[in-house]
Symmetry: C2
Subunit: 179 residues, 2 copies
């Protein structure tokens, strides 16, 4: 990737993140992003077709880091006991905490929906292999329950209760849910 492209892309991301901290997603216009990033109008559209595509690209960037190869690779998926899985989850929480500044703005308002959807897509893969079966409760229900409540835990944590450590959050979660 061209150095100029990386620079522009980064400028757009930073501008967008900054704007989301003081305005709602819908109210942010492309023009404002352009002004904040201090780039040309046509340059923005050379990178992203719409504001929505920009948001999606940002989510992908974040999750590609959080759920990096190291974490998702097969070799790390022989969780024989519950504890090692919990460590795995704690590890993911640490990565999320690193990205907190970028994430915080995205959570609020309307674009939280898109962010959460992406987050859940990754989480489905992580939880699907670990989930046990329980009689008389559909597996799809339990999977949705585990993934959703974890995603909401993350939101609750990073949005307004970041005083807790990843280890504490992990403990809260595993004491509240049967995996």
């Amino acid at each position: 990737m061209d150095r100029r492209q990386r620079r522009t892309r980064s400028l757009i991301f930073k501008a967008f993140t900054a704007l989301l901290e003081r305005k709602s997603y819908t109210s942010v216009t492309v023009q404002e992003i352009i002004d904040e990033a201090d780039i040309g109008r046509s340059t923005f559209y050379a990178h992203f077709e719409t504001k929505d595509e920009l948001l999606k690209a940002m989510c992908r960037d974040i999750f590609d880091h959080v759920f990096s190869e190291e974490i998702m690779s097969e070799e790390h998926h022989d969780f024989s006991d519950k504890d090692s899985f919990q460590d795995h989850i704690t590890h993911i929480l640490c990565h999320l905490q690193e990205k907190q500044q970028s994430i915080k703005g995205i959570f609020s308002g309307e674009c939280g929906e898109i962010f959460m959807r992406y987050l859940k897509e990754y989480l489905y893969q992580v939880f699907d292999r670990q989930l046990t079966d329980v009689e008389d409760i559909p597996r799809t229900y339990r999977l949705n329950h585990a993934v959703s409540s974890f995603a909401e835990t993350v939101r609750w944590w990073l949005k307004e209760h970041s005083e807790y450590s990843p280890e504490q959050i992990s403990r809260f979660y595993f004491e509240s849910v049967d995996i």
Copy 2:
């Protein structure tokens, strides 16, 4: 309320609901709602300032029915045991099922966020009184967990697994969460 106002309001709600079943919230324009409802442009704006206000009004209408006085009133809140609380939840699920047609479209895409926020606001009141305390886990965490996972349960149910009965959903939930 004037008969004409009720009629117009109903036409707008129906048009909006119909549009949300085949298009995403963002892509629906005020003009389309006007055309679908077959009303004048100024009439729409006499009722709602923006599309967002319309969505909020629809959510309020739905929840005012689902969490009606009968359900929320103090006299029905002496749940001495877990079972009667579960019955209460089942009752709410029945009301939600009645409104399924209106709700289904709202769930999808971007406006699900707003709908879920409203739903959770009501649920906080319902769950707050019933929630027990657990050592070493913050009450706010447990409340958020109970409310969020119930709200997500509702979404999962009405959106793609409506083959289950309110009683079944209630059972799935209470076997997955400690209240």
